[in-house]
Amino acid sequence: MACIEARGLRKAFGATVALDGVNLRVEEGRILGLIGPNGAGKTTALNAILGLTPYQGELKVLERDPWSERDQLMRDVCFIADVAVLPRWARVSHLLDYVAGVHPRFDRAKAEGFLAKTTIRRGSRVRELSKGMVTQLHLALVMAIDARLLVLDEPTLGLDILYRKQFYDSLLNDYFDRNRTIVVATHQVEEIEHVLTDVMFIDRGRIVFDRSMEEVESRYLEVMVRPEQAAAARALKPMHQRQAIGGSVLLFDGVDRQQLAALGDVRTPGIADLFVAVMGNQPGQAQGAAQ
């Protein structure tokens, strides 16, 4: 069963088209990274999925229509839409009481357990906590909810590296299992690529790349080409080329590994490099393309 299924999803703000016919399908049990430049439509797409914004086109999340059934959907879906959206006046104990009071799938003991591993005190108000602690608190609340879909939109923006690392570690170790689906939108590609099972690139309101990580690993290869091999390498039609110390790095789609090994060191490209390559090949965005 698909966790999220969208067909022809469109959303415009006046003359600005934020989503331009998005088709996507996210299966259950996946961890999807939604990656795109600023203003590409990531947040709009997530807001539509979460029932925070109306849209045109077809969209089903866990077989529900998010816009008309947001409150029922939220029994099975959790989200951290941004850092620091917890109400600043609230005490930690207020938040625990409130979520326990309204959420049928919230396990208070579990949340208390997560909080016990932090330095957050029950009586503190959110405004007294550091940004990193607010994120820890929000994550503790969210992970104690037995949800089927968790949506994270830039959940670690502005946090220091320790908190960022800890965030994804606890998400993977203490939360994720085969029955849950996680969708993460972020700029900070490097720190999430090892946790993803799928990756999607979004650009100007369209999905321009949609692969599982296995596909990425089997299809895309990056070769550090020695200068004397440059012509031979170019004949194999790399999708992208960039300069590095000691030669150029060429990125190939679906070229045989043996063949490439003759040209230089072969490795799987990082998502960031793949992103630059794919975006550079988008029409109208030639400035990022190979030079």
Partner: protein, 304 residues
């Protein structure tokens, strides 16, 4: 529900489907109102502070002014003043608190972005808006009543203690004050005027707070002035202003039967007259429209 026939041995999905998925609507409402009390502590702190000040004033008056008057009826009259004063002071305070609460209720959560957190929980916009409307319409009137009754009882005990043995007993005061009757009047006034008659005012303020991107106070007042002004210039009439005045003034003729004697407070209790006044029902209908619009707006609104 679980009609899938593929034989996946894992069972968690089943447990999730059959997990207690329902929390009664009343419980969600209870916690939502509780949340408002956590956030806006002025709801109870302001009337309690006014009550405390009234008590301090009363104590000083009892010890100082009333003791120096030897004439017993006069002494009683001095002490009696404070009871209705306490009532008006607490009522006025809670009304002001209600106005400012409503103006901020649906604006504050967008300003501090916490709306994104509230919307991540399975609570509908309807429940949220109704829980916020319940503060001025239910919580504050009841709180006003409770605090006033408590304050007046403490005042009575204070007087009794201070005046002990001076010939003016608490029992005499109690009879003179006829507090139970006054309390009944107060409760009637709070329910009819503060909850029902003012409902469209609070509904309007909540709507503005859901709509305005900034300065909800201005947006609440300016359109009303504008309508009154245009009416005055275009038709040289003041119907709209008069209607507003009547609404703010508590709709005296709707709440109290015309010609009822002010000497006998019990004749003010004319629920039949009140319930049959058109103004009440028009007001309640407007309140319902304003609240429905606020619910709809909240659905579309995000952080500002």
């Amino acid at each position: 529900m679980n009609t899938q026939t593929n034989a996946i041995p894992e069972s968690p999905r089943v447990s999730q489907v059959t997990a207690p998925a329902a929390i009664p609507a009343t419980r969600r409402m209870y916690w939502s109102v509780q949340r408002e009390l956590w956030e806006s502590r002025s709801i109870y702190i302001a009337p309690l502070a006014v009550a405390a000040l009234t008590l301090v004033g009363h104590l000083i008056a009892t010890i100082g002014r009333a003791m120096s008057v030897t004439n017993l009826p006069q002494r009683g009259a001095i002490l009696e003043e404070h009871y209705s004063f306490a009532e008006f002071a607490i009522m006025g305070t809670t009304f002001v608190v209600a106005v400012f609460y409503c103006l901020d209720a649906l604006h504050g959560e967008r300003r501090d972005r916490s709306i994104l957190f509230w919307k991540s929980l399975p609570v509908s916009d309807l429940t949220t808006v109704l829980s916020k409307a319940a503060i001025p319409l239910v919580v504050l009137p009841l709180l006003t009543f409770a605090i006033t009754v408590l304050t007046q009882l403490i005042m009575l005990l204070m007087s009794a203690a201070v005046l002990l043995g001076s010939g003016l007993s608490a029992a005499t005061l109690w009879t003179q004050l006829s507090l139970p009757q006054a309390w009944l009047m107060l409760l009637y006034h709070l329910v009819t005027v503060h909850a029902l008659w003012y409902a469209p005012i609070f509904g309007w303020l909540l709507l503005v707070s859901a709509w305005a991107r900034r300065a909800p106070v201005l947006w609440a007042a300016v359109p009303l002035f504008a309508i009154a002004l245009v009416e005055k210039i275009a038709f040289n009439t003041t119907h709209f202003a008069a209607m507003l005045g009547n609404r703010m003034g508590g709709g005296a003729e709707a709440v109290m039967a015309p010609g009822s004697s002010p000497m006998d407070p019990m004749t003010h209790l004319t629920p039949g007259h009140f319930l049959s006044s058109a103004g009440l029902w028009i007001g309640l209908a407007m309140a319902a429209v304003f609240l429905a619009a606020a619910v709809r707006l909240r659905r579309y609104q995000g952080p500002i």
